[in-house]
Point group: D3
Chain length 236, copies 6
Amino acid sequence: MRPDHRSNEEMRPVHIERGVAKYAEGSALISLGDTRVLCTATVDEHVPPFLKDSGTGWVTAEYAMLPRSAGERIQRDSVKKGRALEISRLIGRSLRAVVDLELLGERQIIIDCDVLQADGSTRTAAITGSYVALKDAMSRLVRSGVIGREPLLGQCAAVSVGVVQGEIRLDLCYEEDVVADVDMNLVMRSDGMFIEVQCTAEGDAFSREMLQRMLDLGEKGIAKLFDIQRSVLTHE
Amino acid sequence: MRPDHRSNEEMRPVHIERGVAKYAEGSALISLGDTRVLCTATVDEHVPPFLKDSGTGWVTAEYAMLPRSAGERIQRDSVKKGRALEISRLIGRSLRAVVDLELLGERQIIIDCDVLQADGSTRTAAITGSYVALKDAMSRLVRSGVIGREPLLGQCAAVSVGVVQGEIRLDLCYEEDVVADVDMNLVMRSDGMFIEVQCTAEGDAFSREMLQRMLDLGEKGIAKLFDIQRSVLTHE
Amino acid sequence: MRPDHRSNEEMRPVHIERGVAKYAEGSALISLGDTRVLCTATVDEHVPPFLKDSGTGWVTAEYAMLPRSAGERIQRDSVKKGRALEISRLIGRSLRAVVDLELLGERQIIIDCDVLQADGSTRTAAITGSYVALKDAMSRLVRSGVIGREPLLGQCAAVSVGVVQGEIRLDLCYEEDVVADVDMNLVMRSDGMFIEVQCTAEGDAFSREMLQRMLDLGEKGIAKLFDIQRSVLTHE
Amino acid sequence: MRPDHRSNEEMRPVHIERGVAKYAEGSALISLGDTRVLCTATVDEHVPPFLKDSGTGWVTAEYAMLPRSAGERIQRDSVKKGRALEISRLIGRSLRAVVDLELLGERQIIIDCDVLQADGSTRTAAITGSYVALKDAMSRLVRSGVIGREPLLGQCAAVSVGVVQGEIRLDLCYEEDVVADVDMNLVMRSDGMFIEVQCTAEGDAFSREMLQRMLDLGEKGIAKLFDIQRSVLTHE
Amino acid sequence: MRPDHRSNEEMRPVHIERGVAKYAEGSALISLGDTRVLCTATVDEHVPPFLKDSGTGWVTAEYAMLPRSAGERIQRDSVKKGRALEISRLIGRSLRAVVDLELLGERQIIIDCDVLQADGSTRTAAITGSYVALKDAMSRLVRSGVIGREPLLGQCAAVSVGVVQGEIRLDLCYEEDVVADVDMNLVMRSDGMFIEVQCTAEGDAFSREMLQRMLDLGEKGIAKLFDIQRSVLTHE
Amino acid sequence: MRPDHRSNEEMRPVHIERGVAKYAEGSALISLGDTRVLCTATVDEHVPPFLKDSGTGWVTAEYAMLPRSAGERIQRDSVKKGRALEISRLIGRSLRAVVDLELLGERQIIIDCDVLQADGSTRTAAITGSYVALKDAMSRLVRSGVIGREPLLGQCAAVSVGVVQGEIRLDLCYEEDVVADVDMNLVMRSDGMFIEVQCTAEGDAFSREMLQRMLDLGEKGIAKLFDIQRSVLTHE
């Protein structure tokens, strides 16, 4: 039985609150069980050097954990360390896959994902929440007449799936994550296409058949997240 | 008239929520108008090198702003830069002034103050909120039998007072802070003694008589904060 | 047609030379077309702090590119930057999946992968070459009587597969890599189990059916690499 | 009795030597008992980014201690650490309070305060000495015709006052500083206005009445420093 | 007797391979016994700030050792540490002494020397090999019409000479280097002029007569290196 | 004619003041014309890791320039940059050549050389002055009974010699240094043996005959420095 008595196919309760940061162009606070990530979107009229004078925009992300978001205090500035940097890159790449960067024009959206509380699956929660912040920043650009229409190709959401004690489970909490044999992060677009599949043997290697079943379960979870995003975004 | 129509002697609405961080030994989220600071207290069984084998404890603090806590995005890792470092030192020093470090024993309390939203007076809000987190961490040490009684010498709270357009005002918001001629941070103990007086000429120097009036107003504001802290701490 | 006239299912010529570094406990220089990676294995009798006194060992890796391994000169010290750090972590994780860390005992193997020349697929070449260096370091530990038998659970090898202009291709060279819509890195164990699947939408998202075909092609490529590793390792 | 047999209201011997640095636009070596600080002023035709094209100037400061200025050797590069950074900011802020930055024009004066020997009150000595270096740099700008008249609003000087064993004492030496219960740094302008009051409980909190008496004593000490500065500056 | 049975006046076998790096404008792999250094030359159309708009060019160098080039693994990023930085500066200075920087025009040549295997005298091998890489980069600039003729004033080569157990020996290997009493690095130009003499007492000071004999032997060794460079450079 | 009307064989006025730093175990302020270097010696009971439990001591040095020691302001923390690091290493190596490290016992002497004013030849002045600080620190160790006798093998001093406009000159000032074609630093021991010869072509290569004449002149200069050191050290 899972620590919180969920079935293997069940996600934890998801809640997304929009507009939580007064100054940001877009923001969302996502809760996934006890995991809580504050996502903000900043519109920056500068682009990275490699896009200078290209007319094309960019989406980048930074992920960090607050010092006491976890059981043991984490030293600050971890954004530059290995794990946080890798997650930052994943979030940026995932969101770029739903943005028409040419239509965005030569500006960048900076996504900040700050984990207030961490109970597993923080990176997938960050992607799902960031989409909402990104969408609000895009709406604002359209409303203020900076761009003609929202440069979005669809929604973007992510879930974790893992193998724990031989069972495939959706949306691992921290207690499950540390004992998982396989850990998969799946990022999808709302048209059913995949943006990223990262499936890693932590404790033991995995068969191709196992991979298929993990993908099946992940797709189901993400379908629910798209519904939640839509519901949150249709309310003012 | 002040931007939010307060009188010069009026503080913004203050709200302190305890126990907001699942994993921290003590935590508080303080709101002071639109300023919001998440304060956590971590009990660490190590002390800084200079206290090794002294039997004496320590309280230290780190202050940082989330990237989009402000109107312009702030680069991460600012905890090591000048202003944030100076504030971190002030918070630690202020809280140590209400802790009996010998009674605490050879362990340290690490206070983390993360500004979620900044609308002025973040450092004084951080001190006032951190006291609540510190108190809860101390209670937990007593409850778990680590120490016999709470090593606290009183409450600790802080306010800002400033001179704007020749008027002395309590609890400056950001809009006032940037145009203030004088900026004072006052930290007090609940027995009426001062812990720190920092009064700085930003735009113009100030007379000794002005300093007296600023202290008068600051003392009144802090008295209210002590009441709020007590009220929050008596509820479970 | 591919830039070097290969068929889509064809890998570039692979050559692995063992024992190229006089001082290292194990070493291999792998060529994959014009990509050349020097892999060394160092036996270090220390383990990272989290394994201190656990009796269990570790395998870690560092990946870096020489300044003129690429068309544009790369600044040194890039090992700490995002991309190189992410690749370092992948290499370490992949090799740990074929090592019995308890049997290794409380010591670590440090794998260094230095790209002498980069023409695409450097990370997968690094994994394939590093296995050979690791195996030689293990043999040396056995020969010198430090451990009783080689703590290896099988071979480890990796290939890249990509989607370029709608076609699925094995082992992308640099020219293909920069225009690929999808980029997959597949790491496998010689018993047919997967160690890591990383499939990323670079230019466009991908369907689940596309993922299946990419896995099919990747499995074929890796089977050949296992043969080459075995052939290299059976010669003295 | 004080370690050097002074009365509580007595300052240590003060000596300021001008023009000690051949290459600097202004310089002063101040001795305050055994405390010795070398202050130089550099005229820099660049301003910090936030003043670019504003027509307004800036004064900034850096404070550092030579490695063997103290009883225990101090590691270099401490300018970036907490205490030195905080003092650097105080010096810069204090001097800006006596400079008409618009009249200075778009250039900055960089003040370097290097402590050659530290026997307490180094930061207040640095401020008092730096004013002399700053004044000479200003005179030079006028003499060379860069600006029409000296953009100075008055003199600037600083003293420390402390509470040691219940007694209020002027100008603490190191031996007193480490045992002081309260430590105050007072910075004033020669028209009798305050620039900065920093009063900190080190060992014990302090009453408002104590603060008044410390201010009284500090004002007396600073009056003498203004005399010394004037005397030094009237000689060529 | 020397570890490898050479006479005191004998250099180890020298081999220089040109064009080993596909992407570099010039490259050479030099072997000096078991010492192996990969030297590449990059043409960079930017110059350091102090040469901006001067019409004059620059040659700079970076020297680093691969982690397992030596008996004990070396941490990466050592290019910024003392020894590597000093060697980098020596290589750059030595090569600039054979380049007409005005004729080169406002561009810089960046030399990268990466030690693949270190058995003593790596810095002198790096200089000798880098000259070949530099020469090829210069030829390429001429062939492509960027400059009219090669801005070279002669060849540049270097050897080490040492005093071991009272005997003067040419070209120290690592085993000799660690026990040498005196260590000399000599850099010369092919017209017989000296570029750099660095003679250092490691274990014992040395007489002026000893210095003369070391110079005699060094000159003989360098003469041979000039022959080898010429021979390598005349073949296509 | 030289800028200060000296003959080519003449050194600038040298003055060494002992005991200038109240807290250091040894100290000297050396003036060489307008060049002024403060040298302190710190006795540290720790040794670098490679000497742990060896019973053998160490001498190390750090060289830095104060920000306004030169015509243009120098950024702080330059001790870690190339030039300062190289000079630090030279000073440490030179002083170790006159110390019996076994007799010193397992402790280190840290030499700090801070350039207060720089008018050329700062590194040789630093070596000559540091010997005096080192000697005083050694005497103190003997007087306090820590070691039985001074572990010194002789005096150590250094001069610069250069070639300017074809003329060989002793002790270059800054104005000469920047236009010198050849720059030599010579470090000697008082028994006439050489510790270090560094002769570098800055503008033009040099003949062996030129090197001989530079050594002749350097030896004469150093003889005078040994006299000055002896004279300073025999006075209390």
